[in-house]
């Protein structure tokens, strides 16, 4: 009895495989059609999707647990730079986010008023630093580092 059941199962599996194989062919056909269509129209769907996600702030989740650094923001206003180990006393503006697990220190760059140096320290020991070009930051930015850089300019 037990053997018959096993045999029965294996038959079902063979049937499934055949069915899937057929679907696979169908999929391949539609994929080829789509590829042809894309070549004709010149639409790069990957780039389109990337643009859409970045515009709503769902880009690459940055190097931090607490702070999301959008890939688009990294290319434009934000630039990762070397950590200078700036103290609170040297900073123009300080944000302490205990519940988020990080601190931010900001200072306007000397001789370059449109640039702000931002240092982030996380409670897992990581240290990161960014240079923010203020002219490229939107007043309504949702990006934490950019927002903090704007606050630093106001405070300095």
């Amino acid at each position: 009895m037990g053997i018959q059941e096993v045999q029965g199962n294996s038959k079902a599996q063979t049937y499934q495989k055949k069915k899937n194989a057929g679907r696979g062919e169908g999929f391949q056909e539609s994929l080829l059609e789509n590829l042809k269509y894309r070549e004709q129209t010149g639409i790069d769907t990957q780039t389109e999707a990337k643009k859409k996600t970045e515009s709503v702030g769902v880009g690459r989740i940055g190097m931090a647990a607490g702070i999301r650094v959008n890939a688009a923001a990294m290319q434009e206003a934000l630039q990762a730079v070397e950590v200078r180990h700036m103290s609170y006393e040297e900073s123009d503006h300080v944000k302490i986010a205990v519940t988020e697990g990080y601190t931010l220190k900001g200072k306007r760059e000397e001789g370059a008023d449109d640039r702000v140096y931002v240092e982030a320290k996380y409670d897992d020991g990581r240290l990161e630093a960014y240079q923010v070009e203020i002219d490229r930051v939107s007043e309504n930015t949702q990006q934490e580092i950019e927002r903090f850089a704007l606050e630093t300019v106001r405070e300095a």
Partner: protein, 162 residues
């Protein structure tokens, strides 16, 4: 007071007061603890290797004095001076820090083993390595306490209890 000691007091008084306040939660006891730390330093005259070592010694001693006071029988029988948190915490912020009394109050309510690492990390800007050295703990222990302490602060702010 000798020039050496006046330099020492000038250099560390404000920082040690803030650390003592985070433990004692009132001005008078915090000032007493800092004075006691300076007195011990002056009396002992231990061979101090460098400035960092000196600073770490003073912070560690201040914390130990605070904990000794808090544990003492006479202190537990006393009633604290009725001072508003807002006025007492006035000197704890540095001028460029964004004031957030609610979070600070929650941090000060934490048990000692979470409170001191969190206070030193966020409010005094010490690194995990430095805190481990000051508190004589492993870096991994400090990381864990920072993470768990943060969760406790969240609970205090949302539910009103740790």
């Amino acid at each position: 007071m000798e020039q050496k000691w006046s330099y020492l007091v000038e250099e560390y008084r404000a920082m040690l007061y803030r650390i003592a306040f985070s433990n004692m939660k009132n001005r008078a006891d915090a000032e007493d603890a800092v004075q006691e730390a300076f007195l011990r330093y002056m009396k002992d005259e231990k061979p101090i290797q460098n400035k960092e070592h000196e600073k770490a010694w003073l912070i560690r001693t201040t914390i130990h004095i605070c904990l000794d006071i808090l544990k003492s029988g006479w202190y537990q029988k006393t009633v604290p001076w009725n001072e508003s948190f807002e006025s007492a915490a006035k000197n704890i912020y540095l001028p460029y820090q964004v004031r957030d009394d609610q979070t600070l109050e929650a941090v000060l309510q934490l048990p000692t083993h979470y409170r001191n690492p969190i206070y030193l990390f966020y409010y005094e800007d010490y690194s995990i390595r430095e805190i481990a050295e000051i508190l004589n703990e492993k870096e991994g222990t400090i990381k864990t306490r920072l993470r768990r302490g943060r969760e406790e602060v969240k609970k205090l702010l949302t539910e009103g209890r740790p």
